[in-house]
Symmetry: C2
Subunit: 352 residues, 2 copies
DNA sequence: ATGAAAGCGCTAACAC
DNA sequence: GTGTTAGCGCTTTCAT
C-alpha cells in the first residue's frame, strides 16, 4: 500500500541501466543508445515518476540570471507595487537557496525611447529569462520578436502584446474590466443617465490597452442595458498641471444628468479632488490601490476601485519563470487575474 | 561583493566547532556545552544566516502526519471546494518530495455529535498537526483546548474560536463582511428603504459566526447611513423543504418598500428561485460561488456574491502547517482573507 | 558533549 | 554511449 516514492535509482535498477542514463533519457540530454532509451522509456511508461524538485535544485549549481523590465518604481505608486512584488519573489527564492539573480531594468513609462533603450540593453545582456511589462505597443513588438528568435524565454505581465510568443501572460482581461466598470457604475441607476469614460494623462495611441477597457465599457451598456436610453461619452484629459485640464473637466462635469465617471487608469483621485471641491455627487470608478485613491475611497468620493494586484502579478511572474527554468514546468499561456472590486468597506481586507 | 551564501559548514569553521554542534545550537536540540554554544551564538550574531530550506527537507526523513477536520465534501459544494484545496495543498507537497500525509476527517455540518465524534478520533490519533474548521462553538472549545494542552499544533480556518490558542486563523472578518453586504445592498438606493437579513436553514445558536455578520450589517446602516430612515429586520428561515419556509418567505417579501435581501450563508439561490417565480425585483446578496448561486448571478437575480475562497483557505492551511513543522516558520496569528466581491461581470475572472 | 560521516534524490563531471 | 562518483546543504546517527 505505502508505495515508497520512486527514485531515479529505482528506475535505473528496473531498466537495467545506470542512473546517469536514466537522467539523460528523462532530460533528453542526448548520448544514449536507442536500445537503452527504449528500456528506460518502457519503465517510465509503466510507473508514475514524479521527480523530487527539491533534490533537483539542490543538485544544480547553475546560476540563472533573470531580468525584469518595468517602469521606474518612482514613476508611479502602481509600479512601486510591482517592484515590491519582484522583491518578494526574489526573497522567496533566496529562502529556498535558489541562486537566481533578478536584475531590474527600469524605464520611463511616458517615454517610448526610454523603453526602447532599456529593452535593447536587456536583450544584449542575454539573460536566462525576462519578465516584461510591455506598455508601448509598437516598441514592444520587435523586442519580443527578437527574444523569441534568440530563444530567450519571457513572460509578459500587466499589458499583453497578443502576437508575441511569450511563455505566459500574467494580468487581467481589460475588456472584461471595462464591462465590470460599466456594471458597477450603472448599478441601481434606473436608465436614462449619462456616463463618462475618462482617459487621464495618457498618450492614447501608445496605450491600446486602455482602448480595450473602453470597448468593454461600451459593450456592457449595449448588451446588458440596451433598451435604456443611456448616454456614454469618452474623453481624453491632458496632464493635470496643464491649463486645459480644469477647463475641460469643468465642461465635462456639466454634462446633463451625469450619473457616473469611469477613469481608465489610476488617476481617479484627480477627478475626485475636483468633485469634492465642487461638491458634486457622481459615482466615480477607477483603478489601483494607490494612496490618493484610497483616501478618496475612504471619504466616499470614489465608490469602486478595480484592483489589478500588481504585486502579486510580479511575484507570480518570477515564480513562473523559475518554475520553467529550474523545474521544466510550462506555465499556462494565459494567467488571467481576478478583477477585484474594492470599496470603502472591503478595502482593509485587501491591505496586507 | 558577491557574498556566497553562508552554510552551516562555514559557521562551524568560524566558531571552531563541528557542524553537528552548530546544528544543535540552531535547533536547540540540547547536548551542547555553554562554552560551545557561546562561540556559535557569537558567530550567528555577527553574520546573517539563512538556512537553505530545500536542503533541510531533503535531509529529514521524518514522516509527518496531518489531519484535516472539515464538513463532509458532499454535504455542501462549499466544503467540496475546501476539500479540493486540501488536495491541491497535498499535491504541492508531493511535488517537492515532502513526505507528509494529510488525513481527512469529515463530519456532518448539521450535527454537533458528528463533530464531537470526529474530533475525538482526530485527537486520539495524535497527529503532528491539525487543520480544523470548527463550526460548532460549544463543541470546539474543549477540543481545541485539549489540542493546546497536548501541544498538538493546529490551525483554524473558516470559523474562528477566539479564545483557542491556534497557530493561526485563516478566514475572513465576518463583521466586516456584514458591513460590506450592507454597503453593496444600499448602494444607489437613496434612503428610506427596507432591508432584510436572512439566516436560512441554520441552527443559529450554534452558528455564532452568522451573528457577527448580522452585527456588521446593522452597524453599517447605523454608522454610515444613520440619518436615512432605513428599516432593517432579520429573520431565520427553516429548511426549504419545510412547509413554513415558503409561507414565511412570502410574508417577508411583502415588507413594504423592500429594497434588498442579504442572505448570510450560501443559500441565496433559494430566495432567488422564489423571487424569479414572483417576478419581484429586489437586490439580493449572498455568499459563495456554488453552482446555484452562479446561475442566478448570471441571470441577474443575485447582484453580489461575497466570496470566501474556501479552496485557497484550505490550501494555505496545509502550507502554513508545513512551514511551521518543517521550516520552523511561525505564521501570523490572523490571516484575514480579502472580502471578494463577485458580480455577474467579474465572475468568470474568478473561475480558475 | 562533540565530531565524523552517512545519507536525502538529483545533476554533472569524469572515466571508460 | 554508459556507468560511476562527487557533490548540493542539511539532518541524524554513531562513535568517542
Amino acid at each position: 500500500m505505502k508505495q515508497k516514492n520512486i527514485r531515479i535509482k529505482d528506475i535505473a535498477a528496473m531498466a537495467g541501466v545506470s542512473e546517469g542514463t536514466v537522467d539523460r533519457v528523462i532530460h533528453k540530454r542526448g548520448k544514449v543508445s536507442s536500445d537503452a532509451a527504449d528500456k528506460v522509456n518502457k519503465v517510465l511508461a509503466e510507473i508514475e515518476y514524479t521527480p523530487n524538485l527539491l533534490a533537483r535544485t539542490l543538485g544544480t549549481a547553475r546560476n540563472y540570471r533573470l531580468i525584469a523590465v518595468i517602469p521606474h518604481p518612482e514613476s508611479d505608486p502602481y509600479w512601486k507595487q510591482s517592484f515590491e512584488g519582484l522583491e518578494q519573489g526574489e526573497a522567496e527564492l533566496a529562502q529556498f537557496g535558489i541562486t537566481m539573480s533578478v536584475e531590474r531594468f527600469f524605464y520611463d513609462p511616458t517615454k517610448k525611447e526610454s523603453f526602447q533603450q532599456v529593452t535593447l540593453k536587456a536583450f544584449h545582456s542575454k539573460p536566462d529569462g525576462i519578465l516584461v511589462a510591455p506598455l508601448f505597443y509598437y516598441a514592444s513588438v520587435p523586442f519580443l520578436k527578437e527574444l523569441s528568435e534568440s530563444k530567450i524565454p519571457f513572460i509578459q505581465f500587466n499589458t499583453r502584446i497578443e502576437q508575441a510568443k511569450s511563455l505566459s501572460f500574467i494580468g487581467q482581461d481589460l475588456f472584461q474590466s471595462g464591462r465590470l466598470a460599466a456594471e458597477l457604475i450603472s448599478l441601481g441607476n434606473a436608465g436614462n443617465g449619462s456616463y463618462i469614460l475618462l482617459h487621464v494623462e495618457e498618450d492614447l495611441p501608445n496605450s491600446i490597452h486602455l482602448l480595450e477597457k473602453e470597448k468593454g465599457f461600451k459593450n456592457y451598456f449595449e448588451t446588458e442595458l440596451a433598451p435604456q436610453p443611456n448616454h456614454i461619452k469618452s474623453y481624453t484629459l491632458p496632464d493635470s498641471t496643464h491649463v486645459l485640464f480644469e477647463k475641460e473637466l469643468q465642461s465635462i462635469l456639466r454634462t446633463p444628468n451625469l450619473k457616473g465617471i469611469y477613469v481608465t487608469n489610476s488617476k481617479a483621485y484627480l477627478i475626485a479632488t475636483y468633485l469634492e471641491k465642487e461638491k458634486q455627487q457622481v459615482r466615480l470608478i477607477g483603478y489601483d490601490l494607490v494612496e490618493e485613491n484610497i483616501n478618496y475611497l475612504r471619504k466616499g468620493m470614489i465608490q469602486f476601485i478595480i484592483h489589478q494586484n500588481p504585486k502579486r502579478q510580479a511575484k507570480l511572474g518570477i515564480r513562473t519563470l523559475v518554475n520553467y527554468l529550474l523545474f521544466d514546468k510550462k506555465p499556462t499561456a494565459l494567467n488571467l487575474f481576478p478583477l477585484e472590486v474594492i470599496t470603502k468597506t472591503n478595502l482593509d481586507s485587501y491591505q496586507i
